[in-house]
């Protein structure tokens, strides 16, 4: 069974089709890198897959179920453009809140554990608004991984990360793949993404220009996919 299956999805903004007949699959335990120029539809696709908006046509299944089903949402982790933590709350309060929302058996214990794993235990009681950008990003990573999701949807996760946060995220993503979790990530940082990816999908003007396994040529030359299948 595919962990993520996108079948004939169209998404319209008014009359403009931002996604056109997208068909993609990500097998369980795989890492699918969504690449494409600005405006290609990567964010719209990820947000639609995450269930933040409904497709105009077509269907999306995550672990065989609709993205809006409660069980699916429990199995899904999302990192978008925002860090999705509250500035007025402390790091531990934020993670405990999400732990409660995800119904974890001991939200506080999980929160402490993830603060340690992301190197934020020292500032656990600090308000997020006082955090540096890198610390905020690491907290966002902790928030997304807190409930041990089986499917991770990451929208440009390496953007604006400092080197420490990139290292933390890459380590966590490798651990997730080793634990047979599925990752779908959109990115412009091809080198970081292709090092992790088992599959690649190139989007161009809302359509899939290429979808297939990640090959050694792609890893050695990140511009290869654009040159071969894209707009050069």
């Amino acid at each position: 069974m595919s962990a993520v299956a996108v079948d004939g999805v169209w998404k319209f903004y008014g009359d403009y089709p931002a996604l056109r007949d997208i068909r993609l699959e990500a097998p369980e335990g795989s890492c699918l890198a969504l690449i494409g120029r600005n405006g290609a539809g990567k964010t719209t696709l990820l947000r639609t897959v995450a269930g933040f908006m409904r497709p105009g046509r077509g269907s999306i299944r995550i672990l065989g179920k609709s993205p809006r089903e409660t069980e699916t949402r429990r199995s899904m982790g999302f990192i978008g453009h925002g860090i999705a933590v509250y500035d007025e709350l402390s790091a531990i309060e934020n993670l405990t809140l999400y732990g409660r929302l995800y119904g974890l058996p001991d939200p506080k214990k999980s929160a402490v554990e993830w603060l340690e794993r992301t190197g934020l235990e020292r500032v656990r009681n600090g308000l997020v608004r006082e955090f540096s950008r890198g610390m905020r990003q690491r907290l966002a990573v902790a928030r997304a991984f807190l409930h041990e999701p089986r499917v991770l949807l990451l929208d440009e996760p390496f953007t604006a990360l400092d080197d420490r946060a990139i290292a933390v995220l890459q380590r966590l993503l490798r651990e997730a793949l080793a634990a047979n979790k599925t990752i779908v990530l959109s990115t412009h940082q091809l080198r970081e993404a292709l090092e992790l990816a088992s599959h690649v999908a190139l989007l161009a003007r809302g359509q899939v220009a290429f979808h297939g396994p990640c090959t050694p040529e792609m890893v050695s030359d990140p511009g290869y996919v654009y040159a071969r299948y894209g707009e050069g």
């Binding site: 933040f52 409660t70 949402r73 860090i83 999705a84 933590v85 509250y86 007025e88 119904g103």
Partner: protein, 226 residues
């Protein structure tokens, strides 16, 4: 996690965030007090007509000051895209809505209770004469305002002119509830208790609350997921 536990988690999160910043409650309370004091200069508190319209004045103040709280309800989720994380979490949309509504209810009620005391002082009305009946009217009127305010706050959260759009949308919807609350408050502060003569207003207010709570719970998933 059970439905009511989800509701309480969302409510406590909103109240904790608001108590840290006090953005909505301070603005709402300051607005209510200033308007009440200004109105008291405009109308002679010793005149009978002033007492007759004081219920209406009070609910106009509640409605305008309440809109400041409702505006913040979903806007609070915009920085850092927190709304995405809430929508992605395995929390039912009705639980999210009720949680936010309860937090708004508490904040607006706090503003109303303080404003009521000021109202009693400046308008020479006997607001404590039928205190519990007045509290019932405030509780029901507040819930009606809160339900409509919260659902439209969710609906307008992504609009550029949301601060303008929210009042424009909620006041026409609130007309039946506000009319009933104004009438009942007018009776109570002028010494007329709720009786068979005017209980239809109370029934209308309660009916409004039940209907719009049910409609909001059904529609909120469609409001949050476009």
């Amino acid at each position: 996690m059970g439905f009511f536990r989800q509701v309480l988690v969302v409510t406590s999160k909103d109240l904790r965030a608001e108590l840290r910043t006090k953005e909505a409650i301070n603005a709402s309370l300051a607005f209510a007090l200033v308007i009440l004091v200004l109105f008291s200069f405009a109308f002679d508190p010793l005149e009978e007509t002033t007492r007759a319209i004081s219920g209406g004045l009070l609910w106009i103040v509640f409605a305008f000051a309440g809109a400041l709280v409702f505006n913040r309800s979903f806007t609070r989720e915009l920085p850092n895209d927190c709304l995405d994380a809430l929508v992605a979490a395995p929390v039912s949309a009705p639980a999210l809505f009720l949680g936010k509504s309860l937090a708004n209810y508490v904040l607006v009620l706090a503003m109303e209770l303080i404003a009521l005391v000021v109202f009693g002082v400046f308008y020479n009305v006997h607001w404590t004469q039928f205190f519990w009946q007045l509290m019932l009217v405030v509780a029901l009127g507040n819930w009606g305002m809160t339900v409509i305010g919260t659902v439209f706050s969710a609906l307008t959260v992504n609009l550029r002119l949301r601060e303008v759009m929210l009042p424009l949308l909620i006041y026409p919807m609130l007309l039946p509830a506000l009319a009933a609350a104004m009438q009942l408050t007018g009776y109570l502060v002028t010494g007329t208790p709720i009786s068979s003569q005017n209980i239809a207003w109370l029934q209308m207010l309660a009916g409004f609350d039940v209907i719009f709570t049910a409609v909001s719970l059904v529609l909120i998933e469609h409001v949050l997921v476009g």
